[in-house]
Symmetry: C2
Subunit: 446 residues, 2 copies
C-alpha cells in the first residue's frame, strides 16, 4: 500500500483515531505536559492564515497526533463529514447548580482532595490529576446539581469535544432501551435481524453477545500488517470514493458482512469496535432510523440538551456507531444524570428504569479480563461496570473520555480529555481513585 493510498484511506474516516491505537506518541519519550501542550499555548490555528507550522490539516495521522490532537478533539467536524444529533428547537433546560458561594467552596475543596494513584508511591491532589490526565473539561454533579465545572485546553462551555468510544455507550443505551420496549429481542441471532449478514461470523451471535462484546469475531489491530482487519475496516469506513480497482467492502455494514470467526460466541469479552457497528445496524433495522436520529429523538430532544451533538459517517451516510460522536460537556452530564436517575430527567421519564438496572448490574465478570486497572469489572450494553462498593459504571473513550456514574454517592462525573496516549490504562491510575475520593468527599457532606 503506497503512502498516498494510506493517506487517502486514513483520511477523513475518523475510524483509526477513534480506535485510538495508531498515532501514539513514543511511549519512551516524555510528552509535553498538559500546560505545555495547551492548544492556546501551542498557538494552533491562530491567525488568518496561521503560520504554516501552526496549521493543522489532513490527514488524521497529522491532525490527530499529539500535541495537535489537543486542538483537533474540539474540531472534528472541520475534517470530517458528519450527521447532526439534533436537540430540537425548544429552550434548553438549564442544569441545576449549587449556590455560587457553595460552588466556589466546592471548587477549592475538591481541587485540594488527595488520593493515592493505582500502584502509586505518592499521593496526588485532584487538581494535579486534572493536568496529569490532560483534562479538557470536568463536570461533577451531586444529587442532580453541578458542584464542579472546569474547562481547559480547546474546550469551552459552548464548545464540543470528541467523545470517542463513549459513542458505543450511547449506541448501547439505545439498544438496551429497545430491548426493554420489546422492539429488539436480544435473544435473537444477528441473522434473524439482519438476514443479509450472510456468512459473516456475526450471523450466529446473539444480539446480546453483540451488545456485550462477547462475540467470537476476528478483528486484528496489528497496524504494522497492511492486511490487518483494521486497515480493511478503515478503507471500508472512509467517506471518500474508493480508489480505482478497490474491491473491498464499502461502508461499515459491508465490512460486517465479511467478518471471519475467531473463538466461540459467548465465551469471553473482547473489546472490538465492530460489535458496536453491528449493534448500530440492528438498531437502525428494527427502528427504521439512523442512530443519530434515534439518539436525537430518544435523548437529545428530551433531556433539555443545550447543544446539538454530531456523529461522523461513512461514504454511505452511516454514522460511526463505535466512535463518531462529538458533544458538549454539560449535555453529557445530562446523559449521566439520566442514567443516575433511572431514566428520568427534568421530571420526565425517557425510558424504563430497568434499562439502567440492566446496565448497572453489569455483565459476567468471569468473561472479563485484560484490564488491569479494572480488575473486577465487566462490560454490558457497551458500558463498563466496575463492580465496586459504590456500584459505579461508566462510558469510556480513548484519550481519557468518561461519563462516570456513582449511584451510591449520587454522583455523575464527566471528563473530556486529550491524553497523549491512546490507552485508558495509562490514565486510570490517576483517575479512578480520584473519582472515588471525590465521591467519598461528596458523601461526607451529605
Amino acid at each position: 500500500m503506497s503512502s498516498s493510498t494510506t493517506n487517502l484511506i486514513a483520511l477523513a474516516t475518523g475510524v483509526l483515531m477513534a480506535l485510538g491505537a495508531s498515532f501514539e506518541v513514543n511511549a519512551q519519550s516524555q510528552p509535553l505536559s498538559a500546560q505545555e501542550s495547551d492548544p492556546k499555548v501551542m498557538g494552533w490555528m491562530q491567525g488568518f492564515p496561521p503560520p504554516p507550522d501552526k496549521m493543522i490539516t489532513q490527514p488524521d495521522s497529522v491532525y490527530f497526533s499529539f500535541p495537535r490532537l489537543r486542538w483537533s478533539v474540539c474540531h472534528l467536524r472541520e475534517f470530517l463529514p458528519t450527521e447532526e444529533i439534533s436537540r430540537g428547537l425548544g429552550a434548553p433546560v438549564p442544569l441545576g447548580y449549587v449556590s455560587p458561594a457553595d460552588f466556589a467552596d466546592m471548587r477549592q475543596q475538591i481541587d485540594s482532595l488527595t488520593f493515592m494513584p493505582i500502584d502509586g508511591t505518592a499521593e496526588m491532589t485532584w487538581e494535579e490529576s486534572l493536568h496529569a490526565n490532560y483534562t479538557d473539561g470536568m463536570l461533577i454533579m451531586h444529587k442532580g446539581e453541578v458542584v464542579y465545572e472546569r474547562y481547559f485546553g480547546c474546550l469551552e462551555e459552548d464548545g464540543k469535544h470528541a467523545i470517542m468510544s463513549m459513542t458505543k455507550s450511547i449506541t448501547g443505551l439505545l439498544g438496551e432501551i429497545l430491548v426493554a420496549e420489546g422492539v429488539l429481542d436480544d435473544t435473537l441471532l444477528v441473522r434473524d435481524v439482519i438476514p443479509e449478514i450472510g456468512d459473516s461470523a456475526f450471523a450466529t451471535a446473539t444480539v446480546r453477545e453483540v451488545m456485550d462484546m462477547t462475540t467470537g469475531v476476528q478483528y486484528s489491530e496489528n497496524y504494522s500488517d497492511p492486511n490487518a482487519d483494521i486497515w480493511v475496516y478503515s478503507r471500508a469506513a472512509s467517506p471518500l470514493p474508493k480508489p480505482e480497482g478497490y474491491d473491498g467492502p464499502d461502508g461499515y455494514w459491508e465490512y460486517l458482512q465479511q467478518v471471519k470467526p475467531e473463538g466461540e460466541h459467548g465465551d469471553a469479552f473482547h473489546y472490538k469496535t465492530i460489535n458496536s457497528d453491528m449493534l448500530g445496524w440492528m438498531i437502525s433495522r428494527v427502528t427504521g432510523k439512523a442512530v443519530t436520529d434515534l439518539a436525537s429523538e430518544r435523548l437529545w430532544r428530551r433531556m433539555g440538551a443545550e447543544q446539538d451533538a454530531y456523529q461522523t459517517v461513512d461514504g454511505k451516510g452511516v454514522p460511526f456507531a463505535g466512535g463518531g460522536v462529538t458533544a458538549g460537556l454539560r449535555d453529557l452530564g445530562r446523559l449521566g444524570q439520566l442514567m443516575l436517575n433511572g431514566g428520568e430527567i427534568n421530571g420526565t421519564r425517557l425510558f424504563p428504569a430497568e434499562v439502567v438496572e440492566a446496565i448497572a448490574a453489569g455483565g459476567d465478570p468471569s468473561k472479563f479480563a485484560g484490564f488491569p486497572t479494572i480488575p473486577n469489572g465487566s462490560y454490558t450494553s457497551q458500558w463498563w461496570v466496575f463492580h465496586n462498593e459504590h456500584g459505579a459504571y461508566a462510558a469510556r473513550g480513548v484519550h481519557g473520555q468518561t461519563i462516570y456514574v456513582d449511584p451510591t454517592a449520587e454522583m455523575v462525573l464527566v471528563r473530556l480529555a486529550s491524553f497523549p496516549r491512546a490507552q485508558n490504562g495509562f490514565i486510570d491510575p490517576t483517575s479512578l481513585p480520584a473519582y472515588q475520593a471525590v465521591a467519598e468527599f461528596l458523601m461526607s457532606r451529605d
Copy 2:
C-alpha cells in the same frame, strides 16, 4: 486530468455546486416536476441500507445533480467538512405569528393569489409558483409576524438547507457592519489590508470594489477547459490532501494570491465568487475571527436563532465565504427581519441602521448589466438591489434561494429551493412577480 483526479478534486469541496454551473440537467429535456422529484417520492436514502439505486454518495457530480440534489441540499454536512455557526446556549426567541385563524386564512388567500410571470402568457397562482420553483421552504413575515410558512421536499421546520450564494450576503453584511464601525476601511486597497496578496489582481482594488464585485479580476468558468480558473479554484478549495505533485494554490486564500487582472477595477459589476472569498479574508484579518465565529457573535447568538448554522471549509479550515452556509428557514427569516428593522431584533440593536441603509440604497445601476430579470438592479455589499418601487433587496443563491426584503410592504420572504437548473434567471420569472403580488396583497390588508 484523469477522471479519478477530477473526482478527487471535485469531491467534498462544495465549491462547484455552490457556484452552480456544473451539474445542470440538460436544458433541452423536461426535468421531473417538483412533485415527481420530491425526495420522499424518489425514495432517496430510505432503508438501512437503502437499495443501491436509492443511495446518494460522493462525488458532488453525483450527489448534487438533479434530482439527487433535492435530497442533498438538506444534507451537505454529511458529505463535507464544516464549521459551526453557533447560536450559543440560551433559549431561542420564538418568532411572532399571527393568530392560528389568521394564519389559516392567510395561507388560503396567499396560495390563491395570481400573477403574470415575466414574459409570461398566462397567469399563475402563488401555490403553482411554489411547485414551479421546486420550493423546499417558504416563510413570509409581515410587520414582524409570520403570516405564511410551508415546507416541502427535504426540508422540515427543524431541518436546515444549503443557502448557496446567500452566504455572500452574510459575508457582505458582516463587512458592511465592520465598515460602519470603522473597523474595516472600504476606501483602502486590498494590499493595505492583506499585504501578502502580492501581485494578485486584487491588490489594487479597493475594499469597496471587492464588496460590490466591481473588481477587474480574471475568473473563467468555462467548465470544458481543464485549465479554466474554476478548476484551479476547485482544486485549491478542496479540503482533501492535494494529489502528489500538486503545485497549485492550496486553499481559498492562496488562490486569491494568484488571480490575474481582467478589465479595470471599478468599471463594472461582474458576479465572481472570488470577491466574496477576498472579502472574507479581509474580514478575518481585521477582526481576528473566522467568518463563522463572527457570524455567530454578531448575528446567530444575538438574533434569537433556534438552530446553529454551518459552513463548509477548505483544507486549511477556511470557511467558504462565497457559498458554504447551511441554515434553518426561520433563522433566515430572523436575518431578513433584522435587515427590515434596520439592525434591530427582539428589542435589541445588533448593528447601526446605516448598515441596512447602505445596502438598501444599492450600488451603481449603470455598472450592472447581464441580468434580464433584474433590469434596473444593482449589487452592493454582496446584496442584490432591485431599485423597484418598493425598494426591495435580496440575498440570492443558485437553485432558487432567496431572502427578499420589501421595506414598503414591511415584508420579509425567505425561499429555500432545489430548482433543477443552476441559474436564477430561470426561476425569477415565476418568483419576482409572485413576491410583488404577495407584497401588494399584504399592503392591501393594512
